[in-house]
Every structure is written in structure tokens, then in C-alpha cells.
């Protein structure tokens, strides 16, 4: 069971959240061209290890938050508000 520390609400169970994927991808400028949008929409690093990702606290404060989570241990390293930058631990 993931217990996610929402920066607004505190520690909550994963069922209150909706997963929204990789939080490192950035929408390119509108005129960036087809390749940039192809990468943005479709390609993912999909790392085996630490992953910065969006979780939407749908049944709580309704905010999108960032979570640094490990994809093999499911350990959560840190959480932050949507506009904060997240550091991924080495290892």
C-alpha cells in the first residue's frame, strides 16, 4: 500500500489519488514541430528505479502533486506541490 504524504493534506492512502504519469515530460512550445510533440505525448524513460510522477489527490484537496517513488520497491522518497522541482536520489 502506498501512503502518500500530500503537501496539503498529510499522509493519505493511495486510493484517494489518481495516478497521472511521468512528471518530467514538458509540453513543448506550440511550434516545436511533430518530433517534439511525438516525444512529449508518447515517449517515456520508464525507469527501473526512482520516478518523478504526478498523482492527483482526487478524493482530497483536488490538487496535482509530485511524488518521487521507486518503481521496484514502491518506496516514496519525497512529495511536493506541483510547481516545485524534485530531486531524484542517487541509487
Amino acid at each position: 500500500m502506498h501512503r502518500i504524504d500530500c503537501p496539503w493534506c498529510g499522509l493519505r492512502d493511495e486510493i484517494e489519488f489518481a495516478y497521472r504519469g511521468d512528471a518530467t515530460v514538458r509540453r513543448p512550445p506550440a511550434d516545436a514541430g511533430i518530433d517534439a510533440f511525438y516525444e512529449y505525448v508518447y515517449l517515456r524513460d520508464n525507469p527501473r528505479g526512482w520516478h518523478v510522477e504526478w498523482w492527483h489527490h482526487a478524493a482530497g484537496c483536488r490538487q496535482w502533486i509530485k511524488v518521487v517513488r521507486h518503481t521496484t520497491t514502491h518506496a516514496i522518497h519525497a512529495t511536493a506541490k506541483a510547481d516545485e522541482d524534485m530531486q531524484v536520489p542517487r541509487s
Partner: protein
């Protein structure tokens, strides 16, 4: 609303019937439907300060911080999301409460009447925490949760805004009215382990 329009019935009308459901003669829990007027208030972008000042002026109410609730003479508020609160009022203040909130905040905030969108239950008594623990996943232990605290969460898979009102302990449980009957069924089932009494709506 024209004066002749009937007042909508509560979502728990005919569901939360008063009565005693004792276990071994004991009914340590009380359950009561409350019927306040409710208004959801969201500050518009960068207007949270203005909204807070307006609510303070009009209702003498300091809008609470995340995870908190606050009460004043005529109204009370629960934090529900960043720059967002659920406001409630009883008695005389309940008349056109959403309109009153809107006229207070003006263009600094958006207000939606939730009076019939949600149902409100008050659960009080020594075993209340244990009853809630069978469906609520947040920690309500007095060490971390006390009167004045609130949470937006899910209880028994139903969205619920919860506020602790006293140390009895008593909890106000605010759920979507379309799911209120299901929630009531769950709550009374959980409470039936200890015994409870349903009081007439207040």
C-alpha cells in the same frame, strides 16, 4: 425560488429515522442529521486575501488553514482545498446563505450553494473513533487529530468531509447527498457493534 416552491427534502429524509439501537442495553453513540445551509467558496486567482478579509468582515470568521475548521457566531468554515472552503450556517443566518457569502466576497471568489448537494451527520460518543476506523483511513487519534481539525477524505469509499467538533469525541461527516443513504447504511452498520441512538434532525 418562488415562495410557493416546496423546500427540497433532505437526502436522509425517511432514512435516518429516530430510534434506539442498543447493544446489551447500551447505546453509547448518538447519530443526528444536521441541516445547515452550505456554500462552497473558492477564491479566484490571487484573491485569497480579499476573500478572507471579506468573510472576516461579513461573518466575523477567520477562514481556516489546511486541515482545519473554524467557527464564529453566524457561520463556520472547513478548509477543503487550497483557497477553497466549505462554509455553513444554521438558524437565521442560513437563509440565502450562499447569496450572503457571494455578496460578501463579490468578484474575489466563486460561490456554489451546496445545501442540497450534501448531507450532514453528527456522530458522537466514546466509540466514535473506532466506528470511523472501520471505513476511514486517516488517523483520528487525539495525538494527531483533535477538535478544530478537519479532513477531506473518503470513508467507506464515499467522498467525505470530516470535522471533529468536540472531544466526546464528536465528528461531523459531510457526504454527497446522492450517496448519503449508502453512507448512512454503512455508518449504522458499523455503529451497531456498539449500540447507537438516532436523534431527530437538528
Amino acid at each position: 425560488m418562488p415562495a410557493s416552491a416546496p423546500e427540497p427534502l433532505s437526502a436522509l429524509h425517511g432514512v435516518a429515522a429516530p430510534g434506539r439501537h442498543a447493544v446489551g442495553g447500551e447505546a453509547p453513540l448518538t447519530l443526528r442529521e444536521r441541516r445547515p445551509s452550505l456554500a462552497m467558496l473558492l477564491a479566484r486567482k490571487a484573491r485569497a486575501r480579499d476573500v478572507a478579509a471579506a468573510v472576516q468582515r461579513r461573518f466575523g470568521l477567520a477562514l481556516p488553514a489546511p486541515g482545519r475548521a473554524a467557527a464564529a457566531q453566524d457561520a463556520s468554515a472547513i478548509w477543503t482545498q487550497p483557497d477553497g472552503w466549505l462554509l455553513s450556517a444554521d438558524g437565521a443566518a442560513a437563509r440565502d446563505f450562499a447569496g450572503a457569502v457571494k455578496s460578501a466576497v463579490g468578484d474575489a471568489g466563486s460561490v456554489v450553494d451546496q445545501t442540497h448537494g450534501k448531507a450532514v451527520l453528527l456522530l458522537t460518543g466514546a466509540p466514535a473513533r473506532r466506528v470511523l476506523a472501520t471505513g476511514c483511513r486517516i488517523d483520528l487519534h487525539p495525538r494527531v487529530f483533535a477538535p478544530g481539525r478537519s479532513a477531506v477524505t473518503q470513508i467507506a469509499h464515499i467522498d467525505c468531509i470530516l470535522r471533529q467538533v468536540d472531544a466526546a469525541p464528536g465528528y461531523e461527516l459531510i457526504v454527497p447527498s446522492s450517496l448519503a443513504e449508502a453512507f448512512y447504511g454503512w455508518l449504522t452498520h458499523a455503529a451497531s457493534a456498539y449500540g447507537y441512538e438516532v436523534l431527530a434532525p437538528a
